[in-house]
Each structure stands twice: as structure tokens, then as C-alpha cells.
């Protein structure tokens, strides 16, 4: 299981770095919103992997909050951007 955990961590770290690159490069705020959503999902995946590795469910409620937060975040950014476009 340790090998699996290390592999998954490495994969998710690379994915997170790529997503972060998109957040930094933009170019528009909507690109950043989409990338932030993906980054949040990667964080959820990382926390779930940690819980699976250590068989410890303490962090699971955090996942529910994060899952909802990503949605609220992108929707509010999208509304903000839509208002500014008009």
C-alpha cells in the first residue's frame, strides 16, 4: 500500500503543479476559476488518498465541505465575470 500511496501522491502533485501553472497563466479570470475547481478536486483526491492509506476517517467531513466549496467558488466567479462583461 505504501508504493500505491507514493505513486498516487506523485501523480497528484504533478497534476496540481500543472493546474497551478494554468491558474498563474490565466489568461482570463474564468480560466482561473476552472483551474481552481480542478485544483480543489485534486486536493479532495489527495485527502481521500491519505484517509485510504492510514485507514483514518477523521478528514472525511472536510471532503464534503471542499466538494461544495468548489462549486460555490466557480459559480460566484462566473456570475461576477458575467456582470462585468455586460
Amino acid at each position: 500500500m505504501t508504493i500505491v500511496a507514493v505513486t498516487v501522491t506523485a501523480l497528484l502533485a504533478v497534476a496540481g503543479a500543472l493546474t497551478l501553472a494554468r491558474i498563474i497563466r490565466g489568461p482570463s479570470i474564468l480560466d482561473r476559476a476552472v483551474a481552481t475547481d480542478v485544483l480543489l478536486a485534486i486536493i479532495v483526491a489527495a485527502i481521500a488518498t491519505e484517509a485510504a492509506y492510514s485507514r483514518d476517517a477523521t478528514a472525511l467531513p472536510v471532503l464534503v465541505v471542499l466538494a461544495v466549496l468548489g462549486f460555490v467558488g466557480s459559480v460566484s466567479v462566473a456570475r461576477f465575470a458575467a456582470r462585468r462583461n455586460k
Partner: protein, 125 residues
């Protein structure tokens, strides 16, 4: 081979393939040319990757309370990801971020033009 070992192996496969799909989503975010194609990356491999990781996590934990929490996270993800993508797409549509030279047809532009033409006359809501 007992059941525990089998479940662990299945969980490991789920975790790794989920992480691979997350990586693919990250690569797609960097490589795709415009906002709309990037949103495809955020909507599909990301959702399936997260679902697989959650399944792997559930197979490792194997207790009722934790599995209900994971199911809830999965349902939220499935229900909200398309809505978020739709909101972003709508906000970004008539915008410079979208490479119209890569579009074969654009029927939404025609529709918006028609809506703009109709606007002077009072339209029933």
C-alpha cells in the same frame, strides 16, 4: 487470497487510475487552446478521477458511516460539476478567450444575433 487482500488490490487500482485521470485533467488544462476545451477537461476526467479515488477510499475504510460520507461527496461532485461548467461557459461565451477559428460552426452566435434583433419589439416574457 482472502477478501481483505482482494479489496485492497481493487482499492489500489481505483486510487491509481483516479490519480492518472487527475493528471490527464491537469495536462489538458495546460495544453488545450481555449476556455471551452479546458472546461471539458474540468468536467469529465476530473469527475471520474475523483469518483475512482472515492471508491478506492471507501474500499479501504469499509465502515458504513465513512462510506455514506464518500457517497455524498460523489453525488455532490456529479451534480455540481456540470452546473459549474455551464455557468462558466455562459459567462465566457461572447468573449475573446474563445478561439473562434477552431470552431466548425457556431449556432449560438446566430441565435444571439436573432435575440438582439428581436429586442426592439416588446417580447412577451
Amino acid at each position: 487470497m482472502n477478501l481483505d487482500a482482494v479489496l485492497d488490490i481493487v482499492a489500489a487500482v481505483c486510487l491509481i487510475s483516479g490519480a492518472l485521470l487527475s493528471l490527464a485533467a491537469g495536462v489538458a488544462l495546460v495544453r488545450f487552446p481555449d476556455l471551452l476545451t479546458r472546461m471539458h477537461a474540468a468536467a469529465k476526467p476530473q469527475v471520474l478521477g475523483l469518483l475512482l479515488v472515492l471508491v478506492g477510499c471507501g474500499l479501504r475504510l469499509r465502515t458504513g458511516v465513512d462510506i455514506t460520507t464518500l457517497v455524498l461527496v460523489g453525488i455532490f461532485q456529479l451534480a455540481t460539476a456540470p452546473v459549474a461548467a455551464h455557468m462558466v461557459g455562459r459567462a465566457g461565451y461572447p468573449h475573446d478567450d474563445i478561439r473562434s477559428d477552431l470552431l466548425l460552426t457556431d449556432e449560438l452566435a446566430a441565435h444571439l444575433d436573432r435575440v438582439a434583433e428581436d429586442r426592439p419589439e416588446p417580447t412577451p416574457a
